[in-house]
């Protein structure tokens, strides 16, 4: 059996539809030869799909930091505005708030943040993508 071509728009369309039907926010598939990331965001006009796929070009593929457990994601300490948020920005990408506890989340290996994938205060589950980092040079 041949593997499906992850760059085929039809396959991406079918996967995205399945994710929407299942109420899942996104999926990331990585194979030695190909990778695919689909994210389904909600908007006023219904679901908006974003996807990227391509050959595994290690140099170009972003490193995705995922949530280690369920909690509320904050890019900086929500309780200490400006106290010293920037000083360790290189090491952490934010915090997961669980009740009174803030769990610092380690940055990607390059430490160069491309973008956060969730808004401040969003409740994320185990394994949910939180941020994209530039690939390691």
């Amino acid at each position: 059996m041949t593997k499906p071509d992850l760059s085929d728009p039809a396959i991406i369309e079918r996967l995205a539809a399945a994710l929407e039907a299942a109420g899942v926010d996104g999926i990331e598939i990585t194979r030695p030869d190909q990778s695919l990331l689909i994210r389904v965001a909600k908007s006023a006009n219904g679901p908006v799909r974003q996807f990227s796929s391509g050959k595994p070009d290690a140099a170009a593929r972003p490193a995705v930091v995922k949530s280690p457990m369920a909690g509320e994601f904050w890019p900086s300490d929500p309780s200490r505005s400006g106290a010293s948020a920037s000083s360790t920005a290189g090491d952490t990408v934010g915090f997961l708030r669980v009740g009174p506890i803030l769990l610092p989340i380690a940055a990607g290996p390059s430490k160069r943040l491309r973008r956060h994938l969730v808004e401040p205060g969003t409740v994320v589950g185990f394994g949910d993508p939180i941020a994209e980092f530039e690939p390691e040079a």
Binding site: P68, M69, D77, P78, S79, R80, A83, S84, S87, T88, D91, T92, F95, R97, V98, G99, P100, I101, L102, L103, P104, I105, A106, F126
Partner: protein
């Protein structure tokens, strides 16, 4: 074990103090910010009253001579571990040989270095707190000096801290509903009128209405306040009686003194008010030269604040353990 590499005077070992001996004249001592101490200990799986190092003179530097875990709570003093910044109130595991350094505080005045297992000095009369006045407890009854080595105890059920550490939300933020913000730049301290309140006549109103400045003659024993003096309408001769920290006495000068952790156990000056238990930690973090304003509350209100604080401390202990366990299971 830890080695003190650099310290100024007046940094001491403190726990929650030595209650129960005021009746023989022994001051309770203990952390000036008991909330920071309890939370720091909760984050490490220690008993909430385990002994820690109270820092009030900076910079301070120590070396961990064995692998352990620590957290710096209280004042945000730009702590760094081997030169790398440590988030405020963030519990971290350390290897033997790592060096922790505390700089000048940006917020607050007293920092607490809590270590897994607590600082293990010999308890005296049930407490490891240093009584500088009595010259017992803590490290030989004195403040820490460069070159001191301190033993640490064992944690009965240690937490498996994640590599990035474990932090806690600022208690002032978490408990914002119970702790009012500053008023005109003055710290709001809740108090209950005390026995001689009625003797101050019309001056009593000025006790509440003005912002008092914390004078330079303020330390762990007490805070002397400066402002427009308040005086009793008639002189009063008091018989010596027991006092607790938080009592606001008015000496003949008319400028109030708030007794703090190392307070005398007895007093005889007229008392205008007493700071509620749940606000003592805030007072413990107030800076010399800063201003504070007293706000009257009832016992019922004070009890409500006290319950909220106790609930928060319990929550920190429970949740930090739960988070560490969940991370162990999932990753």
């Amino acid at each position: 074990m830890i080695d003190i590499i650099h310290t100024g005077p007046f940094n001491t070992v403190q726990d929650l103090g030595r209650p129960g001996f005021r009746n023989i004249g022994v001051t309770t001592s203990g952390a000036m910010d008991p909330l920071a101490l309890k939370i720091g200990n909760s984050m490490l799986g220690n008993e909430t009253g385990a002994a820690a190092i109270e820092i009030q003179i900076y910079p301070f530097k120590l070396r961990f001579s064995k692998a352990t875990a620590f957290v710096v709570t209280g004042a945000d003093c730009g702590a760094s571990l081997d030169g790398r910044t440590v988030q405020p109130w963030c519990a971290l595991s350390v290897e033997a040989g790592q060096v922790l350094e505390l700089g000048q505080p940006r917020v607050g005045t007293r920092a607490y270095i809590c270590i897994a297992g607590g600082i293990d000095v010999a308890p005296v009369m049930g407490s490891r707190s240093t009584s500088l006045r009595g010259a017992f407890g803590g490290r030989e009854g004195r403040h820490l000096i460069t070159g001191d080595t301190l033993q640490t105890g064992e944690v009965s059920s240690p937490l498996d801290l994640p590599a990035t550490g474990l932090s806690v939300v600022d208690p002032a933020y978490a408990l914002a509903d119970f702790y009012p913000a500053h008023e005109d730049g003055a710290l709001v301290i809740r108090a209950i009128p005390a026995g001689e309140y009625g003797l101050f006549g019309t001056d009593a109103e000025r006790f509440w209405s003005q912002a008092w400045k914390i004078s330079t003659q303020s330390d762990r024993t007490g805070y002397r306040l400066t402002g427009e003096p308040i005086k009793p309408t008639t002189p009063v001769e008091m018989r010596s009686h027991g006092v607790v920290s938080g009592v606001v006495q008015v000496p003949p000068s008319g400028e109030p003194i708030i007794q703090m952790a190392d307070a005398n156990t007895a007093g005889g000056y007229p008392k205008i008010a007493g700071v509620i238990e749940a606000d003592l930690w805030r007072l413990g973090q107030a800076r010399i030269g800063s201003r504070l304003r007293f706000v009257r509350v009832t016992h019922a209100e004070a009890a409500g604040i006290e319950r909220a604080v106790a609930g928060f401390i319990d929550d920190v202990g429970r949740t930090s353990r739960m988070v560490c366990r969940a991370l162990q299971t999932m990753n």
